[in-house]
Amino acid sequence: VYAGTPARTAGVLTQQLGGTADQMLAIDMYDIKEGDATNDWNNIYNNVIQPCNDIVAQYSEGNPHNKAMALVIKAMGLGVATDMWGDVPGQEGGMGNINGNFSPKYDAQKDIYAQIQSLLDEAIGLLKTAGSDVREVGANDLFFKGDLAKWLNTAYLLKARYAIHLTKKNANDAATKALDALSNVTNVGDLRATYGESYNENNQWFQFSQGRATLLRMGENLINMMKASNDPRLSVYAAVAPGGGYVGAAPGSENQNASELGTYMAGQTSPITLAGYVEALFIKAEANLILGKTQEAADAYNTAVLTHVQNATGSPAPAAFVTAYASETAASITKEKIMNQKYVALFAQIEAYTDWRRTGFPTLTPNPHNVLNKPAIPRRLPTDQNERLYNKNAVVTSDILKPVWWDE
């Protein structure tokens, strides 16, 4: 999902990416249909939430840490689903094998958000349980090799993420809760998906660029933004365009001569950060700014930018870039600056789309030729076709311009 249709859709709609042919061009034209993301919807519920429920139901006895990891993963799955689709099954989702419920009730997004927080709270409690599990995960844990401190850190980070999403509802409350959670977050290790050289282990952005080469290019908005700031990450984000230099595809341009994705996101074994310290710092900056703590906001922002440049390029940011983009003060820091740099740092992540929807930054111009014939960018995915057809309790929303609850 983080490297599948939802992530590509998010990237194209936020103009970090450009859909230049076929199905990706369709997204670029806001021609988004109810069957487009079925595989990803199924991945979330069949391969993420269902196995997590399975672990909780069948294997949690004597294995509190296993259970906690399952709850964290489930919270992330629900988070992606609700941010892209709005109201989704929460309590009753992925329970088919456990209680035979094949038409799970849809929960209001507000309630899904409450569930995410309580799943994470429960996970935090369990992760703090002393002793070891009957079946230790240990080296089988592809993320943290069973390091509970890192899982705990991730759980808090996710609490902050899903708290700050609610700024349109109650900004102060969102900021306070986010900061509260972040007080437990340090730079102990990011939750990252890692990839291998075998075909079935490849980074999926890479595989997409191999098998579907004409479909996707860098987006003009992001490329221009990074060129304007001489961003040192540009050379790893984007490949050199066929005509030389770095070129982004404008919405609807079908410009296949634009740059392809670079090795940062789309290398054969490039890892993808699912929840990391840089994101935590940006949340910290935004939350502090909301609460009027501008100095803390500026500090967090500067650290976030510098850390991310270091992470992405492997070397410290050049002085000129630091001066221009990582030297904010209490007086100069703005929400737009925070969100724009977060937009760059969380490249090709669903978070960037969520952030744009709730803050309006960066400022985007809708594709003027879009098939919806309206000067607006879609704000959600339509309810999945199979849900409409086979779940009698589905709450169907086909209008992709309708905001989700936290975006209202």
């Binding site: 599948g4 249909k33 990803d40 069949n46 391969n47 592809l142 079935n200 579907r212 098939v371």
Partner: protein
């Protein structure tokens, strides 16, 4: 005064002796019958009248004069009033006693057009039967449906039986368990395994069309059964037959392309030539300027240049012979086919030996063995990186595909993620090699003069070894990949039947069969894949640096007890009933056995009316039966599998992942309460023969309701599963089958015979379970699916549609293009309204001319090929681009009122987003009518019967043509096409399918 006369009885056609002919003295009730060599010896008085009679031949009377030798030649009986047919379990019956319709096809009709596949050669030869070929590549599968589809997710094809033993006709696909999508869409169009049978060995085929006819086969024959009977030996001196057939195949029909405009795009309203195929990002469109306006650029007809003339050579040698005790037939055959796609081929070498022997007066035994080595090389089709049609159709005319090699030997591609077709057919072959043994032994013991016992034991064993090579430098696998797949299949079958026949008072008769059978099938599928090859052209798994393998095994067993009883009254009224109780390992855990009954009746009413010149024979028949279909193996269980994470665009991530294995529940949840699905079929029919059987009509109406359908019912993904196997819903097939045959001219030298088969089947999904009105039959593409929708035929095409007014007019948006409906819906039905086959045969002395027309009315096909070609500016139509288009429809005048659309749009927009599959288009635009009228077969043959010749008995010369003429409005390849082949239930999909063929052949046959 009596004396001894002798003689030989021969068949008028083959000039071969006929054993078992009754030679009776008229009015006396005495007589004899001919021996295995067709000879007889009898004591008669002068002036006696002898009556020579045998089933299938016209009786002949001869008055004995003073001669000592009376040789007789019997003519085949064209009236066929006493026709005998093989029914279920090898039981032979007089056709007049059957209450259901069966149709027979003679072996010689199967081989006439030189088809290598005994399924394909049934097309348009029997009513109620639909054969769907996959395209003209050698060995591609053919699918057969009888009386429509009767299940959703399982196998819809009939059971194939050879000499009483069921054989495997699977179309296995090669795919790793990590492959996340529908395996039928991937790779090549694999063969259906009936391809291993040599058509020349077939004596006759009987088609048991539905549960009524096939109830005795139980769950396996829920879709009917096709009974092949092989040729057997004849007593007498050795007769050898040799024939040779040489066929030539050409592409039958292709989408029409434009060769005017070059590669490029329209920039700011101006076509720009963009020949940058050397970079990784070629412009795949043909929206550039005119080729004639460009210096040094010429137009190429890549498609025409690519396809070659295919060849098909077959040799058959057979020998028959025997004596009073034993007879034999031995045959050897070889088929040698090269396809229209370069480097594709099909080879089959087969031997068969059939023996029959009388061990004692009461015990006879028989054996039948065949071995076939079938192999071939296939090309990928559809949207596969090594498919051939996709790059052929997409490549602009300004690019020459023939120039396909780079100096380093790698492929010079046009479409960068698809291989050059010349390179791929040379470097990325898919090869399969099958060794197959099919055989059975049987014993027949006559307990007394009314009761006998037969036992049969059969085996069908094959190994199918396949290899797919992706050479280093191929686009899908730049570092090279090898796939090795071995499928081992073993099927054992055995039955024991007690049969009795008794007559009482010359009025009543009873025929009964009681028995049991056991079947076991075992399949092992081994898959190995090696990637990252080190040495070019060393196609051995040892050359791979990364290896993956998996295995799947399936074991099923079923056993049954059955009876078949028939009562007859005055050889005029017959009532029969059958029943079978079956135990199967694939039924759910709660109930593992089911009962399948049937009742049928036939009434030969002409026996009650006085003999007249008009109506020679009339029979009314009716039958009702319940058939079944067992669940697929292991569907009653929810089991763990290795999950894959894929989004429809890439092959995704799967386990083992970074040396960690992983399992989650299969996305299909099991169901322990599964029952077999049941089909209740009622049929009534009328068989009439007029004017001394010059005009024959068989008409049948059937109504088959399938309920408790075994459905892989889709679930909302949010349940945690995608599907559940369930007995859900009901479907009905009803229709007419009419066979009409007539001798227009019947004379000594000239005969003209017409044979027409008409089929109309209407399928309707009646219900799909509570709250469900639509389900996805089998995953296809994200843009289009095959659905079962309540009130519509099964397999309805389901995709995006245009938004329309109540009157059906398109609603045009402010950009001049129609608006797409937010929700997908039904956009057409791929099954024909009716089909017909009409054969005309002319005989003049030794010359025979046969003409077979095939008509299909209706049946929609999704032509994804043409939609994409429109989008890319490749179609002939899209060459008309220096103008604007106005799409007929209505548009909002700004006040909410709908007025006719007058807004002109550019040709580019018109072809990309209205006719094509570009952004903003609806898939419904690519659905076309697949009706056709075709000259399916035409054959001309001449036979010299060389009487008195010692060495050569006859010579036959034939010239045949297949698909020589095709009339269809379908804008693509031959609409007899199937993307996913016989292993799939998807129908009506054409996405860069390989084209069909038309063929010419000449043959010679020698009788020695």
């Amino acid at each position: 005064q009596t004396r001894t006369i002798t003689g030989t009885v021969k068949d008028s056609k083959g000039n071969s002796p006929i054993p078992g002919v009754s030679v009776a003295v008229k009015g006396k009730g005495t007589g004899t019958s001919t021996g295995p060599t067709g000879t007889y010896k009898l004591q008669v008085a002068n002036g006696t009248t002898l009556v020579f009679s045998f089933i299938g031949y016209t009786s002949q009377e001869v008055v004995v004069g003073d001669q000592n030798v009376v040789d007789i030649t019997l003519e085949e009986d064209k009236k066929q009033l006493n026709e005998v047919v093989v029914t279920a379990l090898g039981i032979t019956r007089e056709k007049k006693s059957l209450g259901y319709n069966v149709q027979s096809v003679k072996g010689e009709d199967l081989v006439r057009a030189g088809e290598n596949n005994i399924i394909e050669s049934l097309s348009s030869k029997a009513a109620g039967v639909q054969v769907i070929g996959s395209g003209g590549t050698p060995g591609a599968s053919s699918k057969i449906l009888i009386r429509g589809n009767s299940t959703f997710t399982g196998n819809n094809q009939p059971l194939i039986v050879i000499d009483g033993v069921p054989v495997d006709n699977s179309t296995n696909s090669t795919v790793s368990q990590t492959y996340p999508y529908n395996a039928n869409l991937q790779g090549v169009n694999n063969s259906n395994r009936a391809l291993d049978i040599n058509p020349d060995d077939i004596a006759s085929v009987t088609i048991l069309k539905g549960p009524s006819a096939a109830a005795l086969y139980g769950a396996r024959a829920g879709n009917g059964a096709i009974i092949y009977t092989t040729k057997r030996g004849k007593a007498g001196s050795v007769h050898v037959t040799y024939d040779f057939n040489a066929g030539f195949d050409k592409v039958s029909q292709l989408p029409k392309e434009q060769h005017i405009y070059a590669q490029g795009s329209i920039k700011n309203g101006v076509p720009v030539y963009l020949p940058n195929f050397t970079t990784t990002a070629p412009v795949v469109e043909s929206w550039g300027p005119k080729i004639s306006s460009l210096n040094g650029v010429t137009a190429h007809d890549n498609t025409k240049d690519f396809f070659q003339t295919g060849t098909n050579f077959t040799h058959n040698v057979s020998a028959t012979g025997g004596n009073d005790v034993s007879t034999y037939r031995i045959s050897l055959s070889r088929a040698d086919q090269k396809g229209i796609v370069p480097n594709t081929n099909f080879y089959r070498t087969s031997v068969r030996a059939n023996f029959d022997t009388k061990v004692t007066q009461r015990l006879s035994m028989n054996a039948s063995m065949s071995y076939a080595a079938t192999e071939g090389t296939k090309a990928q089709n559809g949207s596969n990186t090594s498919g051939v049609m996709l790059p052929l159709m997409r490549t602009p005319a300004s690019f020459d595909l023939k120039d396909y090699l780079k100096p380093d030997g790698s492929s010079k591609n046009f479409v960068n993620n698809y291989d050059n077709p010349y390179w791929t057919t040379a470097n990325n072959p898919f090869q399969d090699k099958v060794d197959r043994f099919v055989g059975n032994i049987g014993a027949n013991y006559e307990i007394n003069n009314w009761l006998k016992a037969t036992y049969k034991l059969g085996a069908d064993v094959y190994t199918d070894g396949r290899k797919q090579i992706f050479a280093i430098g191929s686009n899908g696998y730049p570092t090279g990949q090898l796939e090795e797949n071995t499928i081992r299949n073993r099927q054992y079958y055995s039955d024991l039947i007690l049969s009795g026949h008794k007559e009482f008072n010359e009025k009543y008769s009873i025929t009964a069969n009681v028995g049991g059978n056991v079947t076991q099938t075992q399949t092992q599928n081994l898959y190995g894949r090696g990637t990252d090859l080190s040495i070019p052209n060393y196609n051995n798994l040892g050359n791979a640096s990364t290896l993956y393998s998996d295995e799947a095994t399936v074991l099923t067993r079923s056993s049954a007890l059955f009876y078949d009883v028939q009562f007859g009254y005055k050889n005029m009224l017959f009532i029969g009933t059958t029943g079978r109780n079956e135990w199967s390992s694939t039924f759910g855990l709660h109930k593992n056995n089911f009962f399948y009954p049937s009742v049928n009746a036939s009434f030969v009413f002409t026996d009650l009316v006085p003999k007249n010149d008009i109506l020679t024979y009339g029979k009314l028949r009716g039958a009702i039966a319940r058939g079944g279909l067992a669940p697929d193996p292991y569907t009653s269980l929810t089991y763990y599998v290795k999950p894959y994470f894929a989004d429809g665009f890439t092959d995704g991530n799967s386990f083992p992942f970074q040396k960690q294995n992983g399992f989650v529940y299969n996305n299909v949840i099991g169901n322990a309460n599964l029952k077999p699905q049941t089909a209740v079929e009622k049929e009534i029919g009328l068989d009439l023969k007029f004017f001394d059987a010059r005009l024959n009509v068989e008409a049948t109406y059937y109504h088959k309701k399938t309920s408790d359908l075994l459905v892989r019912r889709p679930l909302a993904g949010s349940s945690g599963f995608q599907k559940i196997v369930d007995n859900t819903g009901a479907m009905v097939n009803k229709g007419w089958e009419i066979s009409l045959s007539g001798d227009v001219i019947r004379s000594r030298d000239f005969n003209w015979n017409i044979n027409i088969n008409f089929t109309r089947n209407k399928n309707e999904v009646l219900e799909l379970g509570e709250g469900v009105s639509e389900i996805d039959v089998e995953p296809a593409f994200t843009s289009i699916g095959s659905f079962a929708i309540v009130g519509k035929p099964y397999g309805a095409l389901y995709a995006s549609r245009w938004k329309r007014t109540d009157k059906g007019e398109l609603i045009i948006g402010s950009n001049g293009l129609p608006i797409v409906d937010a929700q997908n819906g039904n956009i057409g039905n791929p099954f024909p309204d009716w089909t017909a086959g009409a054969r005309s045969t002319f005989n003049y002395k030794g010359i025979t001319l046969g003409v077979l027309f095939d008509i299909r009315q209706g049946g929609k096909i999704w032509n994804g090929t043409i939609a994409r070609m429109h989008q890319l500016g490749r179609t002939e139509e899209s060459a008309d681009r220096e103008r604007t288009y106005v799409i007929p429809g209505v548009t909002d005048d700004g006040t909410g009122k709908l007025i006719p659309n007058t807004q002109a749009i550019t040709a580019e927009k018109y072809f990309k987003s209205y006719l094509g599959d570009g952004a903003g288009s609806a898939t419904e635009n690519a659905v076309y009518d697949g009706s056709w009228v075709r000259l399916r077969e035409v054959s001309l043959s001449y036979r010299w019967n060389l009487k008195g010749q010692k060495i050569i008995r006859f010579i036959e010369l034939t010239g045949t043509g297949r698909n020589l003429w095709l009339s269809t409005k379908y804008p693509g390849v031959d609409p007899e096409t199937s993307l996913t082949g016989a292993g799939s239930n998807l129908t009506g999909f054409d996405y860069f399918n390989n084209p069909g063929t038309k063929s010419y052949a000449i043959g010679v046959k020698l009788g020695l």
